[in-house]
């Protein structure tokens, strides 16, 4: 049996996926921290332990993400857009547009029926266009990142933000709290601001259904609803949206391993 692995070292989180026979057998997610090399080892080891395997059982490893160069045991590095496209295609074969909201960037891309990215856009180098925006505000509001989504859905009186800048939004959020605005209303406003940025990117690229939403941002149900409202369409979201790039990397590793086997 061929075992393959995909390792995605992102700016905020790192993920590893182990696959066999085109199925996920284990995965692991952990914060990236400051030492990408160590994180790569730890996150892969975590996934391998769950799969009751060791690194020498793995036939091919593909790395991706911001820190892909720090995975010394990978056979090659593949761009994150390509991995994301492959991962989205595996999960949702009908998806032709996908949005990835990561810790540092938001990516919007189109994919063909073979799961290859044919066009893409990245958000500007600005925290307001990515998951970072929500992390900053969660800290200000003293709430857990994972609770943001549910809480924001309780909003009855959304606070509209005057700025698209994360730094200004932070101070605006503080003054709104001082004025007595409810946390859920502030969160709903932030989701709206981020959704507007995503909407602009999607419109620039041109949306083609079905549309999937992946990345850490897809864990935030409030954000998902807000983007659905902006785009006026239902979004496909996976159960574990953070591992999609690592999954795609593993799928590419599978193709490579199969090609090597066939050539023997």
């Amino acid at each position: 049996m061929i075992h393959i692995a995909g390792v995605d070292i992102g700016s905020a989180f790192s993920k590893a996926v182990i696959m066999a026979e085109n199925k996920i057998i284990a995965y692991q997610v952990k914060p990236s921290g400051g030492n990408y090399r160590l994180t790569a080892e730890q996150v892969t080891k975590g996934a391998l332990t769950k799969a009751k395997l060791s690194l020498k059982d793995i036939d091919y490893v593909v790395a991706t993400g911001y820190g892909a160069a720090n995975v010394p045991f990978s056979r090659e590095a593949v761009s994150d857009i390509s991995c994301l496209a492959r991962g989205v295609h595996y999960l949702f074969p009908t998806a032709r547009t996908a949005i990835d909201i990561g810790g540092q960037f938001t990516r919007v891309f189109k994919l063909d029926k073979r799961g290859r990215a044919t066009a893409f856009l990245l958000s500007e180098k600005c925290a307001a266009g990515s998951g970072r925006f929500l992390q900053v505000i969660a800290k200000v509001l003293q709430i857990d990142l994972k609770d943001i989504g549910e809480l924001s859905l309780k909003s009855r009186n959304r606070v509209d933000f005057n700025t698209g800048c994360a730094v200004f939004a932070e101070s605006e959020a503080i003054s709104r709290i001082a004025e007595g605005a409810a946390k859920e209303d502030i969160l709903a406003g932030l989701h709206r601001a981020l959704a507007a940025k995503v909407q602009a990117m999607v419109e620039r690229l041109g949306i083609e259904p079905d549309c999937a939403l992946v990345g850490g941002g897809a864990k935030d149900i409030g954000l998902v609803r807000s983007i659905e409202e902006s785009l006026a369409c239902r979004l496909l979201t996976p159960d574990e949206p953070q591992i999609v790039a690592a999954l795609g990397a593993a799928l590419i590793a599978g193709e490579k391993a199969a090609a090597i086997k066939a050539s023997r």
């Binding site: 761009s79 390509s82 290859r116 066009a119 500007e124």
Partner: protein
């Protein structure tokens, strides 16, 4: 103290052509000539590219000091930050054009010290006798940079030459108004000659001016013909090299040296084509640099593209010439050299108007992209948004959208950073974008396979 910071120089970019590799020493010599002129008391003018006063300045034996060039050198040597910081501490906003900021920071420092700032790249930028701005396009520095520089060199006069061209209208033939534009520009150029005579003590040599105007026409034709050779498959020269060979185009026009340079490059390209010698051994993707000034400190990114089998046979940036024999006017019949310059200017900027009017919804800038896509067999477009130059970057996304609407959807990549400000650049991120773009090119190319 920031003043002592002296960053490491980036490793030199490998050029594809021998001609492009000669540019570095040529620029160095050009800067040295300006410093020498200062010593000898020859008049020096601060100048901008694309202001069509090249022949005038040279015919009067005034030495041009290209301020954008000097800022670009500081950027390429990764030594611009200390000048940017100086300008910032003088109260200039960091969101202004970083060429201007770098130049202003440098001037402020030089004037304060009464000598060149320590370790000034290539000996520094000499104090001018006059400064020649211009009113054209969206570039406010062309109007304002030198006025701001007068804070530090108040005794140096500025002349801003008005250089308009008829705006594009899809339902209107600009030829109805072109004569007025030419007349206006000629008046502005006459004013410039008078200004220079007054402030430098030099007299215009009108015969010499006519000779240089003719030399410039011939150089434009030669450049156009040379760049057209890059249509060959595999392409013998890319945009990375063209970011070097722009030097004779924009900083040495109206000199025999510029003409000879392109003669040599032309021969070299012909030789490469005859031997099927491409910029890369295995050409896979042909890209167009579809707009934006480059990140001067990151020209190695072109080599990175090359390492993926991608070449750039054509670019819109710094291709500021056309073959004058393709204009709908015979310039050789115009005897007044200033009028000749004015017509060349108007004809260059309106060159794509007729084509655009024939395609509903098109625009001259988009038409130019379409023509290059077809002539150079282009697979994808790369643009660079340098945050501090609005002039060339406003409208890039609009052009891509329009292209998609009226022509076809072609893969595109927009890189983001700056011309000079290295703090805006992230190599890992840029390269990740390039990798992803190459993957999409491959996916699009192999569609249906």
């Amino acid at each position: 103290m920031t003043e002592e910071k002296k960053p490491e120089e980036k490793k030199k970019r490998k050029t594809a052509t021998e001609a492009a590799a000669k540019i570095g020493p040529m620029v160095k010599a050009m800067i040295a000539d300006v410093l020498q002129a200062r010593k000898e008391g020859k008049p020096i003018a601060y100048t901008f590219i694309c202001c069509c006063y090249d022949e005038i300045v040279r015919a009067m034996d005034i030495v041009p000091a290209w301020t954008e060039n000097y800022a670009g050198i500081c950027g390429a040597k990764r030594d611009a930050q200390r000048f940017l910081e100086r300008a910032e501490s003088e109260g200039f906003s960091r969101s202004l054009c970083t060429y201007a900021l770098c130049g202003l920071g440098f001037d402020a420092w030089r004037e304060q010290l009464g000598e060149m700032p320590p370790d000034a790249p290539w000996g520094g930028q000499a104090r001018p006798d006059v400064m020649l701005g211009s009113g054209q396009i969206l570039c406010d520095p062309r109007n304002k940079w030198y006025q701001a520089a007068q804070h530090y060199i108040p005794d140096v006069p500025v002349y801003a030459v008005g250089l308009p061209w008829p705006p594009y209208e899809s339902d209107y033939d600009y030829r109805e108004v072109q004569d007025y534009y030419v007349k206006y520009i000629v008046e502005e150029l006459r004013g410039l000659v008078a200004f220079l005579e007054r402030h430098t003590g030099r007299k215009m040599d009108w015969d010499r001016l006519s000779e240089l105007v003719d030399l410039t026409d011939r150089t434009w034709n030669l450049i156009w013909e040379t760049y057209e050779l890059r249509r060959a498959i595999p392409s013998p020269m890319g945009t990375g090299d063209a970011m070097n060979t722009m030097v004779p185009i924009v900083f040495m026009m109206a000199t025999q040296q510029a003409y000879d340079f392109f003669k040599e490059l032309n021969e070299e390209l012909r030789h490469k084509i005859a031997n099927k010698e491409g910029e890369v051994p295995d050409e896979k993707y042909r890209l167009m640099w579809g707009g934006g000034l480059p990140a001067w400190f990151a020209l190695n990114d072109f080599n990175y593209f090359n390492s993926k089998g991608a070449v750039f046979p054509v670019e819109t940036t710094y291709r500021t010439v056309e073959a004058v024999y393709n204009f709908d006017i015979d310039l050789s019949k115009i005897s007044d050299p200033l009028e000749h310059i004015a017509w060349r200017w108007v004809k260059f900027w309106t060159y794509w108007y007729d084509k655009a009017r024939k395609r509903p919804g098109s625009h001259p800038d988009v038409e130019r992209l379409i023509q290059y896509i077809e002539d150079y067999k282009i697979d994808g477009i790369v643009m660079h948004e340098a945050f501090s130059c609005r002039t060339w970057h406003v409208g890039l996304i609009w052009q891509l959208n329009r292209l998609k609407k009226i022509y076809r959807d072609i893969p595109s990549l927009i890189l983001e950073s700056d011309i000079v400000d290295i703090s805006s650049y992230n190599e890992a991120d840029t390269r990740a974008r390039i990798d992803a773009f190459i993957d999409t090119l491959e996916a699009v190319k192999s569609k249906g396979k």
